[in-house]
Assembly symmetry: C2
Homo-oligomer: 200 residues x 2
């Protein structure tokens, strides 16, 4: 039992370190060896945990996405008092505060950055990326639907289209954040969308 | 003279091959050796042409951006008959036709992909990326200003904000294009913005 537990802990440690290094250096810039060294796992035993680098990265994408969605669901479940637009603002303010910490503008969204870097070149990573994207798209669509029902946003666009535009504009503005080394662009984008573009 | 000309030709060939390989494999996935091999330039002579990999990539960004902007300016100069929104649609239809060719959904926008991958980690690449972004932002702002003057789009957003949103949403939708292996997402985004979101 102790052995199984240790093995599971090592697997999780590899995934956490993988999230950290992939966010900082990208797919091609991240070497398995550096991750194993950081977690002090001997090189030969990587394949005890994952079938390949691709399978490892797909697992990292799933884990990163599940952590984000579960934080999001906890927040949405606990904040009953706020309207949907205020919830969206609070969620994105929270994400931007994390990016605004010293040196953190270089860590964009792992899903978007990996999509831009590796696209559909690996089938198993592609499946994990599309699934991660769908999870966010569903949550955003539900929030915009609620905002329409509360008459907080325009109704001539479907909630699904608003979510699509919101996600794309957010990801594009994170590219600018990484390029400019400042959260100014995504901050302005959220305001622009929620205070003007989507306004009734 | 012949020698200078040959040297200039080799430099240009390296940049063209660099654009091709960077678009396909990203910054960290592109090796100088593979580019030199493709252009049949001996490894030792790379530094006759460029000071470093970073300086080379910055030059690639500038060249890619200048080619795109000069094509854009030629088009805008020649198409006097169309209104600004029709021009925007024609420009992006043309770009999407190129991406729709077999295997080309994996080549997104080099500026956006490099911004997402390397961000501000290299100062000289960062300068080249920001300059490239500014060139597009200026052209887009001028087009949206003209569209406002022609009363083709809403006037409660500044032309600059419209250009910012348009660029970010486009880049974000190219991430989805790469991830999904289909031009459906950016195609839909252009329609959504020009036919609904920005409509008067």
């Amino acid at each position: 039992m102790a052995r199984i537990r240790r093995s599971e802990q090592t697997r999780e440690a590899l995934i956490e370190e993988g999230i950290r290094q992939l966010a900082a250096y990208g797919y091609h810039g991240t070497g398995i060896k550096q991750i194993l060294d950081a977690v002090r796992v001997p090189k030969g035993s990587f394949y005890n945990y994952f079938e390949s680098k691709e399978a490892f990265v797909a697992e990292i994408v799933r884990s990163y996405s599940e952590q984000g969605l579960s934080q999001l669901d906890d927040y949405l479940g606990s904040e009953k008092g706020l309207g949907p637009v205020e919830k969206l603002k609070a969620i994105y303010r929270y994400i931007l505060e994390q990016h605004a910490d010293v040196g953190q503008t270089q860590r964009g969204c792992l899903i978007g950055s990996l999509a831009a870097e590796i696209g559909s070149s690996s089938a198993i990573c592609q499946r994990a990326l599309i699934e991660a994207f769908s999870g966010w798209q569903q949550r955003l669509t539900a929030l915009f639907k609620a905002a329409q029902d509360a008459r907080q946003v325009r109704c001539d666009l479907s909630a699904d289209d608003m979510a699509t535009l919101f996600w794309s504009a957010w990801e594009g503005s994170l590219m600018r954040m990484k390029m400019e080394g400042s959260v100014r662009a995504p901050e302005h984008m959220i305001e622009l969308l929620l205070d003007t573009v989507f306004k009734r």
